[in-house]
């Protein structure tokens, strides 16, 4: 039986979340919370200049939330902050339009399946909300 939302990639990330955990001390951190389901997530970043040396997420949430955080984690290692910001914008756009406009975030493709389930879109975005907050903090404090 094919359970449409839970493709192999997502399930793999759920079972083996990449870059999970918490960097201590972190250069930047942000939490996100989904009041609907109680999902909670913390993103911590270690920086080197304008680059993300390491990004980790600690998640208490559903499969979509865990997989999305894990996929984001893979993407963020070693990229510049402005690159991270672009990824975030591209992903949000893709979640709205259903189209991936850049090959850079091709790895996030399995998450687009979530678009069919409006109530779960927030779960997919939770990690990215935390990223946005990290980057905002950055801009105002740097």
């Amino acid at each position: 039986m094919s359970k449409s939302l839970y493709r192999d990639v997502l399930l793999d990330h759920l079972r083996h979340p990449r870059f999970s955990g918490k960097i201590e001390p972190a250069d930047r951190s942000a939490s996100a919370y989904n009041p609907l389901c109680g999902d909670e997530l913390e993103l911590t970043l270690a920086l080197e200049g304008n680059c993300i040396r390491e990004a980790r997420t600690q998640v208490r949430g559903c499969a979509v939330c865990v997989a999305s955080a894990s996929l984001m984690g893979e993407l963020l290692q070693g990229v510049s902050l402005s690159q991270a910001e672009t990824y975030g914008a591209l992903f949000r756009e893709a979640m709205t339009s259903g189209e991936l406009s850049s090959k850079d975030i091709f790895s996030l493709r399995p998450l687009l399946e979530v678009r069919k389930h409006k109530s779960r879109v927030k779960c997919a975005l939770l990690a990215w909300n935390a990223l946005e907050e990290c980057l905002q903090n950055f801009q105002t404090t740097s």
Partner: protein
């Protein structure tokens, strides 16, 4: 006088959309002329409600299953439709309430209770409906604030001198109707709001008699708050709207507490979601919101400008004929351009309830009483009035029928 209007802006065939209009009342075809109280509902609105219950009913917002997602989607689409209809900058500025009354109470509690101090002033007008008056009395009583009233002129306009001198007292808020439900007056709110803002005064607009009848654009008005009811704009009962500027919504505390409006609930205290959720505690009137969506589609299909002209033509007809009737006093502006499709009058020596009763015996539904505007009636020097108010489906011949019966009323009572 001819039975039909010079130009049929709205085809008579629209009547077929409204099943209730084919009723026979006291052996006469129903002439429904109480549209200021509530409008009839087109088939499309009734069907939208039925369709929701027959195919998509579920609680909105909280379920991950397909049916609940559909219900949530339909509910949020209704919100989007309202935002678009009012030209609100953002969908989050639309709060669903039971009606105009609840929307105004929401502001009186959420905004008023925390902001008003003893000695602060609130400015109303003499033509406000009780729903835009009593909530402010209650908040004034609770906070020690005081109420002032902008006077109404003999012809039924807001007295702009009175407005100016009242604004000079620096009230915290002006609560004013866009259209009077007794006089029909369309108040020049765009100008008034600019002046109020120049004095640092916020403005709440009661648009219950305006939405669907005259153009209402919240960005053009630049109002701080605006309220209206679905049931007066061809939509269902039990649904209404509060529009507010985002800065106010962000600053306001919630009013009602309960499911759906929270972020996290602890034993002693909780945190709140963002607008609109913050102001919509409990399961909303989902089906009615969906019906309102369809009602606004209906109105837009006809065109607010066309409706406006249709109703103005009928009001002009009613006004003209009533002014020729003996013993009749008509209230409100003489110029049809300054009023909507409602005309209130008194027949000297006959109580308005008796007038309405005799009209009903000819199948004509009009309203008699103080129309929830006792302060205005006191100003007009009468206890009650008879009000004829038209909608998109009314015809010149119905207006003629109503005025014709006045001869019979006089014969009976005078």
């Amino acid at each position: 006088m001819p039975d039909s209007l010079p130009m049929a802006r709205i085809p008579d065939s629209i009547r077929q959309d409204f099943p209730v209009l084919s009723r026979i009342i006291n052996r006469h075809p129903l002439a429904y002329l109480d549209n200021a109280a509530t409008t009839q509902k087109p088939q499309s609105v009734i069907e939208a409600i039925t369709r929701f219950y027959e195919t998509s009913n579920a609680n909105s917002h909280r379920g991950v299953y397909a049916l609940s997602e559909e219900a949530s989607e339909l509910y949020e689409q209704a919100r989007g439709r309202v935002a678009q209809f009012l030209n609100a900058p953002d969908t989050h500025q639309i709060i669903f309430t039971r009606g105009t009354t609840e929307a105004i109470n929401l502001v009186a509690y959420s905004w008023g209770r925390s902001r008003l101090q003893p000695g602060d002033r609130l400015l109303l007008t003499e033509m406000e409906h009780h729903s835009n008056l009593v909530p402010w009395q209650l908040v004034a009583e609770a906070t020690g604030a005081e109420l002032d009233y902008v006077a109404v002129t003999a012809e039924g306009h807001l007295d702009l001198d009175s407005l100016a001198s009242q604004l000079a007292k620096s009230p915290k808020l002006l609560a004013v109707t866009l259209v009077s439900n007794v006089l029909g007056t369309i108040n020049p709110l765009r100008k008034i709001i600019t002046t109020a803002h120049d004095h640092g005064v916020l403005v709440l607009v009661d648009a219950a008699q305006a939405v669907g009848r005259v153009a209402v654009d919240v960005q053009e008005l630049d109002c701080d708050f605006l309220a209206f009811s679905g049931h007066k704009v061809y939509g269902p009962t039990g649904i209404g709207v509060l529009y507010a500027k985002t800065e106010h919504l962000d600053a306001m505390e919630p009013w009602q507490g309960g499911g759906g409006m929270i972020a996290k609930v602890g034993r002693d205290r909780s945190t709140w979601g963002e607008a609109p959720a913050k102001f919509e505690a409990g399961t909303p009137p989902i089906a009615a919101a969906i019906g309102l969506h369809t009602a606004l589609d209906f109105v837009e299909r006809l065109g607010v400008a066309q409706i406006r002209e249709h109703e103005r033509d009928l009001a002009e007809l009613a006004l003209g004929r009533l002014l020729e009737e003996p013993e009749v006093t008509v209230f409100g502006p003489r110029n049809p351009a300054e009023r909507t499709g409602l005309v209130s009058f008194a027949l000297a020596g006959v109580h308005p309830h008796d007038v309405a009763q005799v009209l009903d015996e000819s199948g004509i539904a009009v309203r008699a009483g103080h129309h929830c505007a006792q302060v205005l009636h006191e100003r007009l020097g009468v206890d009650a009035t008879v009000r004829v108010s038209v909608g998109v489906y009314n015809t010149a011949s119905e207006v003629h029928r109503a005025v014709d019966v006045l001869a019979e009323v006089r014969r009976l009572f005078l």
